[in-house]
């Protein structure tokens, strides 16, 4: 029930006490199916539940509530409800946009200012963001439009890679739907036999036409690896680095590094086995590192 005002000499009935107690333990719910602008203090100490398939707003104005007033806002509809500062200031560490099944408490610090304690929490400002993923197959797999101005650096995770014996996992940078095959790929790959503690293969190119991730010694079973790619979209040299790559059958540890020397901006990448027409299968996932 809404907040009551009792006057001197008034008889307090059992029903009124029960109603107040009920609101403490089982708050009154008012469901709204359209945008809402409170004009009275009716909602204080209760729950306002939005239920609309389309987007709605709750607009808060000044001089309706007082310092210390609170009420809960929830959204059970598919449409996002946005808490809107009308003439009243609203601050939050999270978002004022309340998604379906989200909510939070609106707490007034004065008649003209409120804080929304959102259930969604603060918006993440750092970390990895998944961009795309899928499977590799056939003679070559190209992924277009996976690099953009949104991120400077990327993490690429490859799982269950299988190439035929003697082949190597390779990749090329790509832009506007075409591989870049210029002689700007500089790389070095070491293959270390973990049983014999010896370097079994060294691949290197100062002016190659693609990068290599493995040395190509008897890869027949699935293997997984990940590597970082720096500046693929930026007009700067694109570099990558891989470590701790175990090639399936011979337990060879690989370390690979490389740089595309020109300042080309790339928006895609192609993975392929470097002994065509062998095939390369597996899965890929591409993530962007937040810039700040």
């Amino acid at each position: 029930m809404a907040k009551q005002t009792f006057t001197s000499g008034q008889v307090l009935t059992a029903a009124q006490v029960n109603a107040l107690q009920s609101n403490d333990f089982n708050q009154t719910v008012t469901t709204k199916t359209a945008s809402y602008t409170p004009t009275t203090t009716t909602d204080i100490g209760t729950r306002v539940i939005m239920n609309s398939a389309s987007a709605t707003t709750i607009t808060i104005n000044t001089s309706i509530y007082s310092a210390g007033d609170t009420f809960f806002i929830g959204n059970i509809g598919a449409g996002v409800c946005t808490l809107t500062a009308g003439t009243c200031t609203i601050t939050t560490a999270g978002s004022l946009a309340i998604p379906q099944n989200g909510g939070g408490t609106l707490y007034f610090t004065s008649a003209s200012a409120a804080i929304f304690y959102s259930s969604a929490g603060p918006t993440a400002s750092s970390g990895l963001t998944f961009i795309t993923g899928g499977s590799l197959s056939g003679t070559a797999t190209s992924i277009d439009n996976c690099f953009s101005a949104t991120y400077l650096n990327y993490k690429i995770v490859l799982n269950d890679l299988i190439v035929s014996v003697g082949s190597r996992v390779a990749f090329r940078m790509r832009v506007s739907g075409s591989d870049n095959t210029t002689s700007n790929y500089t790389f070095g790959v070491f293959g270390i036999d973990t049983a014999g503690s010896t370097v079994v293969a060294i691949l290197a190119a100062a002016n190659g036409t693609s990068f290599r991730l493995t040395t190509g010694t008897d890869i027949g079973s699935g293997m997984s690896t990940s590597f970082d790619l720096q500046n693929p979209f930026a007009s700067k040299p694109t570099s990558f680095g891989v470590a701790n790559l175990m090639q399936g059958e011979t337990a060879t540890a690989c370390v690979a590094n490389g740089v595309f020397k020109a300042t080309t901006s790339f928006d895609g990448i192609t993975f392929f086995p470097f002994t065509s027409p062998e095939t390369l299968t597996g899965t890929y996932k591409i993530y962007g590192y937040a810039n700040s």
Partner: protein, 73 residues
């Protein structure tokens, strides 16, 4: 024999197509194969040269591989 194919995925739309390689892609594929063969030959030669050098040194020293490993361990 079927033509080599390339799978292309658009990360923006999720659209995926698999098609035969174009003539320029096929030409690059052939160039890659030649380069890969050269790389494999170079790797094999490098391995053989190292093994021959190692064997020659062991012979001069009058040691077996196991004896050398025992010395180095």
């Amino acid at each position: 024999m079927s033509n080599p194919q390339i799978k292309i995925i658009d990360a923006l739309t999720g659209e995926s197509i698999t098609r035969d390689m174009t003539s320029s892609e096929l030409a690059q594929l052939q160039a890659d194969k030649l380069e890969a063969d050269k790389e494999a030959e170079a790797l094999a030669k490098d391995q053989a040269d190292k093994e021959a050098t190692r064997a020659a040194v062991l012979t001069r020293l009058g040691l077996t591989s196991d004896e050398l490993l025992a010395l180095l361990s």
